[in-house]
């Protein structure tokens, strides 16, 4: 029951919040956004809210329960605001997707079936729980210590004893374990259950959303629906066979989906590519900030910033190239 509620909240609330944020950022183009994109942006908002709660606990000494209430209240307010903005957009005729729905071919059904089968296999691998790779990671211990002490980093998660020398400040300000602890608190789910099972499944879903929107922009013609499906099948296949070494995308998703680097590599960075290709730079800042909130970065500048900068440079060069070609054609 709690697990169903958790998944309902982890999908519905972020979608509502995400659609609201996108509607604010891109008023005129609000109908061009997909639910998948709304979910990703909603999760960026959730990460941001969790970070606020985390910093309140670290710097103001608030208890975990207190910041959980704060986090839950903020999530609900943001989601409601998203609903109101969405309703206002719908009234104004902006929020309605008017694209025609094409009927699927037999080959499309086949591709969808293969994609679903691969995804089901991935979910089964994740929920088996024993396929977790724990070397160099102490997320569960950290979350459990937060829950047991009702505070953030009051004891060393690995020993349960008080700190003598302390922890690096850059680790202390990362809010991902607090987000997990707050979700455990809110839904009454055991730490290992949430961190090793629920979150990786959610990250798998978010990852597919990121690759889906990326596929949409790589194969953007209405006639390329089948290509998009094939792109997703290849993505799913690569997740399955790419788990041979730590650091590969498949390994991250199947064996440590709860880690910040997995979220970064499989959700934030593919989404950053989508933003770069679509030139939607306004959402770029939340992506960079989300990475800075969850992963150790170079003073807040992470890998998604490099990706976005790289895409911006390539876009600029391509634009110049196109302009040069046009002027040559004109001259000819």
């Amino acid at each position: 029951m709690n697990i169903c509620l958790l998944f309902a909240c982890m999908t519905v609330l972020p979608v509502l919040a995400g659609r609201g944020v996108l509607a604010i950022l891109y008023r005129k183009q609000a109908r061009k956004f997909y639910i998948a994109e709304g979910l990703i942006v909603g999760w960026l908002v959730v990460i941001g809210l969790a970070q606020v709660a985390h910093l309140a606990a670290v710097f103001l000494g608030w208890s975990l329960r207190k910041v959980t209430v704060l986090f839950a209240a903020c999530c609900i307010v943001v989601a409601l605001t998203g609903v109101l903005i969405g309703l206002a957009g719908a009234k104004a005729g902006k929020g309605v997707d008017e694209r025609p729905h094409k009927s699927l071919t037999m080959r499309s059904y086949g591709l969808i079936t293969v994609w679903i089968l691969l995804s089901v296999w991935q979910v089964m691998t994740i929920v088996s729980q024993e396929s977790v790779y724990r070397v160099g990671d102490m997320t569960v211990e950290t979350v459990e210590s937060f829950l047991q002490t009702d505070g953030i980093y009051t004891v060393n998660p690995l020993t349960g004893r008080g700190y003598e020398a302390g922890i690096p400040f850059r680790i202390k300000i990362l809010g991902l374990p607090t987000l997990y602890a707050m979700l455990c608190n809110l839904f009454g789910i055991a730490t290992t259950e949430l961190v090793w099972r629920m979150i990786p499944v959610m990250v798998l879903l978010l990852s597919y959303c990121a690759f889906w929107v990326l596929g949409k922009v790589l194969f953007d013609s209405d006639k390329e629906g089948e290509k998009r499906l094939l792109f997703m099948v290849f993505t799913a296949l690569l997740f399955c066979v790419g788990d041979y070494a730590f650091g590969m995308d498949g390994f991250g998703l199947l064996h440590c989906g709860y880690r910040a680097v997995t979220i970064r590599n499989l959700v934030l960075i593919p989404y950053a590519f989508f933003l770069g290709l679509r030139k939607k730079w306004r959402v770029a800042l939340p992506v960079v900030l989300a990475e800075a909130c969850i992963a150790w970065t170079f003073y807040g500048m992470g890998m998604s910033l490099v990706v976005l900068a790289g895409m911006a440079v390539i876009s600029r060069l391509q634009k110049k190239e196109a302009a040069g070609l046009r002027s040559v054609q004109k001259e000819a």
Binding site: V132, Y163, P168, L238, F251, M301
Partner: protein
């Protein structure tokens, strides 16, 4: 100068290691060549391919890779600089472009059998470059280890509660902090050095020595004495430990054969602790 040299060496060795286990990176490079020089790319695809080529070159070239490693901080190893290369997206893009080109019904040679063969061959290439269906994590062993540790930890909790400091072999301590609030004499970072990055905490030479001793207790070729056990237990109890788990196997390596049978009672007497025999461990609680 030494630092710069180290960065460069790590960058070069990292590439060698990264391509050692599987060949998806190599496949991605092949896909980039195919998309860049043989396939027709439009707008977004062209941009993605160009970006991929530049990013992959940066990650392969030791000098630029070292710069990127410096940027991503020492917290991460070489493989993480490949985060900036969209390996999965590029291979998926290449596979999609290649297959849809092959499936094109307008092509003269396009037949059902040929399409099926090309599809199968493409999937096989992906499998050959990946894990070939073998999981990189030994799921059965992991389950067995965790269940075994949980059974022992439950027994400790049932007898003495959570409010204690435990010293036990790594196979037990590995899972002791996953639930509950039991304190440990030392944590997982004693044997997983990567975890040291998360705190400034260090262990005393005495704790390190006791860890080494504890981990040798299930070796088959050691010889231990009662005096040694007594001395180490006293050290641990004096250092704040309340409960100790020693593998029952260790009684086989005792030099004093006469004490083997009555070891639990004997240890209880000389160390002033309560000794209980669990399935594979002696559980000792300081009185």
């Amino acid at each position: 100068m030494g630092h710069v040299w180290n960065w460069l060496r790590d960058a070069w060795m990292g590439w060698t290691k990264y391509t050692d286990a599987g060949k998806l990176v190599v496949l991605a490079l092949a896909v980039l060549l195919y998309l860049g020089f043989f396939a027709k790319n439009r707008g977004s695809q062209k941009k993605m391919v160009r970006y991929g080529m530049v990013a992959a070159t940066i990650c392969i070239c030791p000098v630029t890779a070292a710069v990127l490693m410096f940027y991503q901080t020492r917290f991460y190893d070489y493989q993480w600089i490949w985060s900036v290369v969209p390996l999965t997206a590029l291979i998926a893009l290449g596979g999609t472009v290649f297959l849809t080109d092959q499936w094109n019904e307008k092509k003269e040679k396009s037949t059902w059998v040929r399409n099926a063969f090309v599809t199968l061959a493409s999937v096989t290439v992906v499998f050959l470059c990946g894990n070939l269906g073998e999981s990189s994590v030994d799921v059965a062993q992991a389950r067995e280890d965790r269940v075994a540790a949980q059974v022992v930890l439950e027994e400790v909790r049932a007898r003495y509660g959570e409010d204690l400091c435990l010293w036990a072999p790594a196979e037990i301590l590995e899972y002791a902090r996953l639930e509950g609030n039991m304190e440990l004499y030392y944590g997982r970072n004693m044997w997983d050095a990567a975890l040291d990055a998360y705190s400034y905490e260090t262990y005393s030479p005495e704790q390190k020595r006791l860890y080494q001793w504890m981990e040798t207790l299930d070796d088959w070729d050691i010889q231990i004495s009662i005096k040694e056990i007594q001395s180490n237990l006293e050290h641990a109890f004096a250092d704040g430990v309340d409960c100790v788990l020693l593998p029952t196997e260790m009684s086989d390596w005792l030099q004093e054969t006469e004490t083997k049978e009555s070891l639990p009672e004997y240890l209880g007497e000389i160390c002033d602790c309560e000794v209980t025999e669990l399935t594979d461990f002696y559980l000792m609680k300081k009185r």
